[in-house]
């Protein structure tokens, strides 16, 4: 027996509408984080399991229940992946805003606009909070994906505006090197002069 028209249309809707969103979210989070998103991949595997069961059964009610479960895994895979990515990029951004302004001046780096950085940090926090509160809502989970993505963008903007730790250390080392290079012959000259 073939699948019923209702099951067929629901399956098409899941595969055409919801699945691409989850797939993009899972891949996007891996690209953003540089981490394997195995929980997202596991959710997509569960989606496939439920679709297989829905296609195997002759009972329309069971098939629809399985498709509902598949949709739930799609939702979870999408929102959890983006939440993981948003949390990681937010903490990465916090790592680069620890230095005092004087340090930037000493290192001849443009002093970041504190207000702008603060706004971006608050925006990322608000977006993550919104995303978390709406992610379980069946009508709003797609909005929470947008929220998490905005939080990632805000966090990345912070990282782009400020030098990272490696750059910071390199500048410090360069300036210390320059000072030593200038000071050592000068001190040697003064030593010879006043000896």
């Amino acid at each position: 027996m073939g699948i019923s028209p209702i099951v067929d249309s629901k399956l098409k809707w899941i595969l055409d509408d919801a699945y691409p969103l989850a797939r993009h979210s899972v891949i996007y989070s891996e690209v953003v984080m540089g981490e394997l998103n195995y929980s997202g991949i596991a959710e997509l595997r569960d989606v496939l399991d439920h679709i297989q069961r829905a296609l195997d059964t002759d009972n329309e009610e069971d098939a629809l229940k399985d498709l509902e479960a598949a949709y739930e895994h799609i939702r979870r895979g999408a929102v959890e992946s983006l939440q993981r990515a948003a949390t990681k990029t937010f903490f990465d951004a916090l790592q680069v805003i620890r230095y005092p302004n004087l340090m930037y001046k000493i290192l001849l780096h443009e002093v970041p606009d504190k207000g702008q950085i603060r706004d971006l940090r608050m925006k990322a926090m608000e977006k993550i909070a919104n995303g978390r509160s709406h992610k379980s809502d069946k009508g709003k989970w797609k909005n929470s994906i947008e929220d998490f993505k905005d939080a990632i963008d805000a966090s990345n903007e912070i990282v782009d505006k400020l030098p990272n730790k490696a750059e910071f250390r390199f500048r410090l080392l360069t300036i210390v090197g320059v000072i030593i290079t200038i000071a050592s012959p000068l001190l040697s000259f003064l030593y010879i002069l006043f000896r």
Binding site: I27, G34, L36, R84, F90, M125
Partner: protein
């Protein structure tokens, strides 16, 4: 579906019998009729070259995904790490605290 047998062949109409050899000859004739190639040239050429002569686009058009832009920028070279679930959970708990104290 076309069923081709090597030994016996399938009766095609009243007189002709369809075998791998006869099918091959028919295929070469058909290609030769549509192109300027001779039967010998067709036997020697790669399939891709013949497809070009026949003006067939055998490959499906590439589907573009937005995330591939990241790959083009070199992000695919990132060494993807395996991060234990405990570390991920710890991050989420930290986020809970940050949001609680905002």
């Amino acid at each position: 579906m076309l069923n081709i047998k090597h030994s016996k062949g399938i009766k095609m109409g009243k007189e002709r019998e369809l075998t791998i050899e006869s099918l091959n000859v028919e295929l070469i004739d058909a290609i030769a009729a549509k192109t300027s190639l001779s039967a010998e040239e067709i036997k020697k050429l790669d399939m891709e070259e013949i497809e070009k002569k026949l003006d067939i686009k055998a490959r499906a058009q590439k589907i573009h995904f937005a995330w591939e832009e990241g790959e083009k920028m070199g992000l695919q070279l990132l060494p993807y790490k395996f991060v234990p679930k405990g570390v991920i959970d710890k991050r989420e708990r930290q986020m809970d605290m940050v949001l609680k104290n905002r």
